[in-house]
């Protein structure tokens, strides 16, 4: 038997999506604006996009850049963040650099990077890399800083070297925090992926979207928005599954009671 609470937990995201689409449908019917198609019109345009070989290749190219940008960023940022968290001199060196880069919208760097590296894959992947890096570094840094000293001492007493302690104690202990950063990074990867393709149109999901916008094909524009949104939801859901597996040991055991009825 599934409990009512479990049922509610499963149904919640579906209900949220249906609710959103319904509100959209009503809003577009009320507003009667040419550039605001109804939800149903937009959904109807989706098979056309996904059925088109050219469009599909574009979307796959986007995903590939995103995967590479995200992957490389995570691989570089976690070690850097952990080192910063455990070494004051490393932190003192990198912190000001990162503080300068953090508030700059990464897409705003696109035009400059395009001058150096052209409009191709490298530029866009680099922008995604930059977008993902900062939250991952930041959360790895905070996670590593918060590792209980006595835990490291226990490891040292067992004979773990400094490097071993970093990999075998700091990394797992900070993992929940690191993965929080990665999740933010994943969302940012999607955002920078689309914006980079808005600025350097050549291929990709953003390319389809903004070309359609220029040509006034609003069904396609909104269909693409749904597709990108769905991609976001799917990626996040996959990530969340992996995350929950990796840090099962740290999840809180009890929900906060919303009422004691």
């Amino acid at each position: 038997m599934i409990s009512l609470a479990a049922l509610a937990r499963r149904a919640a995201p579906v209900l949220a999506c249906i609710g959103l689409l319904a509100m959209w449908q009503v809003a577009s019917i009320v507003l009667k604006n040419d550039s605001f198609p109804t939800a149903i019109e937009a959904i109807r345009a989706i098979p056309d996009i996904l059925g088109d070989r050219e469009s599909l290749l574009n979307i796959l190219a986007s995903l590939r850049r995103m995967a590479i940008g995200f992957g490389v960023a995570v691989l570089v940022s976690i070690p850097l963040g952990l080192l910063m968290g455990r070494s004051r001199s490393v932190a003192a060196f990198f912190n000001p650099l990162l503080m300068v880069i953090y508030p700059v919208p990464k897409a705003a760097l696109m035009p400059i990077i395009m001058l150096w590296l052209g409009v191709g894959d490298i530029t866009k992947t680099l922008v995604i890399f930059l977008g993902v890096s900062l939250p991952v570094i930041y959360h790895s840094f905070e996670g590593a800083k918060a590792v209980e000293e006595k835990m490291l001492w226990s490891g040292a007493a067992m004979g773990l070297s400094t490097a071993q302690r970093l990999v075998r104690i700091v990394l797992p202990a900070a993992l929940p925090e690191i993965l929080t950063g990665c999740r933010t990074g994943l969302v940012l990867a999607l955002i920078t992926m689309i914006t980079s393709e808005m600025i350097a149109r050549q291929s990709g999901a953003g390319n389809i979207l903004f070309n359609a916008l220029d040509m006034g094909q609003y069904d396609t524009v909104f269909a693409m928005i749904i597709i990108v949104g769905a991609m976001g939801i799917c990626l996040d859901a996959i990530f969340e599954r992996i995350r929950a597996r990796l840090v099962r040991w740290s999840e809180p055991q009890f929900d906060m009671p919303l009422s004691f009825s």
Binding site: K150, M151, W153, S154, M158, G159, L160, I169, W249, Q253
Partner: protein, 281 residues
Amino acid sequence: MKVVPSRSSEWVRPVTPQKPASAIIEIDRVSQVFQTSARKDHVALSDISLTIEEGAFVSILGPSGCGKSTLLYIVGGFVSPTSGAAKIKGQAITGPGPDRGPVFQEFALFPWKTVLGNVMYGPRQKGVRATEAEAQSRALIEMVGLKGYENFYPKELSGGMKQRVALARTLAYHPEVLLMDEPFGALDAHTRTRLQNDLLNIWERDRKTVLFVTHSVDEAVFLSDKVVMMSKSPGRIRDVIDIDLPRPRRRNELLLDPRYQKYVVNIERMFDESDEAGSPS
């Protein structure tokens, strides 16, 4: 000459050693000065000298802030003293090592490892084969009374259970010296008593050297061969009291023993005095 009860031939050991007990830890004129945020030097330990004999159970007793933990950390090699030196078996202590096993008041278990994973960690690090380490660890877990909890994560355990795991985790890599920092301080009275009994049983079995920090007089007298009484501001050794009580010790017998009661009363009085002495200058 006292009458030796026949049930124990061991208990005389700390009193009249058959073989000369050899020093395992020597603390030689150790001082520790901390820079506080007020930019004022704070003398946590002043000129501490202490010798701990192999196989002895030594408690460090003193008011809060007298530097008990700091002293333990120095012996553990986690902190290096401002001046003076600590030695283990004649070798200067320069850092932590598997010959000294700490058990911290905060447990400091690895939360991403199960009970079994935590206990196996030390032996695995030492290079013991997985199957062997697992068998040993399971036996230890049973010994500390946690059979059936091998696959639990630390967050799923109570405070007393975590403390047991912490003890088992340290015992698992066979340190020659156990360094225990108020290991039972955070526990309720009942659990505390049980763990004291368990610790005593374990210790009486293999007689490791134990350096045990506590601020409970009962606990110190009940467990120890020797109680080191400290006073604070600055942290100094005020007295070293030999506890001349028979072993194996049984709690119910000991509580009725006038010798035990006398030790407790005397040390409590000393404790009060050293606490009064220690108002910050």
